[in-house]
Assembly symmetry: C2
Homo-oligomer: 123 residues x 2
DNA sequence: CTGTATCCTACCAGATACTG
DNA sequence: CAGTATCTGGTAGGATACAG
């Protein structure tokens, strides 16, 4: 939220700010498969740290994309679930997945070509 | 590309790595309106630095999403254009824009509610 | 179990100056 | 005009320790 562009009525920018996060989509996808507890998520999403997951879940909850339910067991149990709003978002994001599956080969090919030219230029 | 998750065949992750960038989508959208020169882009995308734009364009070109054409004028002229591949991507991303327009009010509302609770808790 | 708090580092982006 | 090079400060994220 540092630049004026952010203040503009640019919806794309606004969604991006939400899903651009390295882990956000992954968490939403995991949760769309069913409720999960904190450490359960942590284990499934290999590579995410406790702090980052915590912050991310808080952010997602604030945006109304996931819900958080606390059970007063000992020790405490917390279940995270995706909300209907979160579900529609992940559904939309899946369009990107489709695009990716169809077009990654072209991107790879483009990179190969580009890198080839680069190598020749620096030679 | 630090974690194993990246290595996994997760297309969503792969597209994300491409468009998650703060400016990438914005550049693609601008270019989808027509060819543009470097400083022209720089002016239109207020807030982006010369270095970042330069790096971004290079990355997008490498991925085959934009093309770069140099005209041997004095001083040199460079035109950037979106490629067909880039066009299909922006078209897909526009699905997210639609989602944003429809659902931002709900997110705002969720945040308002969340922040309200927070304020009460810390009181 | 589910987090928060702290420290620390590595990377990124901004500013500036310079080149072809 | 279209970049590259360098320096630097802020920040996100990892590791660790601790709390409820």
């Amino acid at each position: 939220m540092k630049f004026d562009v952010y203040a503009e009525n640019c919806p794309t920018r606004l969604v991006m700010d939400r899903i651009a996060d390295k882990w956000a989509v992954l968490v939403l996808v995991k949760l769309s498969a069913g409720k999960m507890r904190f450490n359960q998520l942590r284990r499934e999403i290999e590579g995410i740290s406790q702090k980052v997951l915590s912050q991310l879940l808080k952010k997602l909850e604030r945006d109304g994309l996931v819900s958080r339910e606390v059970f007063p067991t000992v020790p405490v149990t917390v279940e995270y679930a995706i909300t209907p709003l979160g579900q529609t978002l992940t559904a939309t994001v899946s369009a990107l997945t489709v695009w990716a599956e169809e077009n990654m080969p072209r991107i790879i090919e483009a990179q190969r070509r580009y890198d080839g030219v680069e190598a020749r230029e620096s030679a």
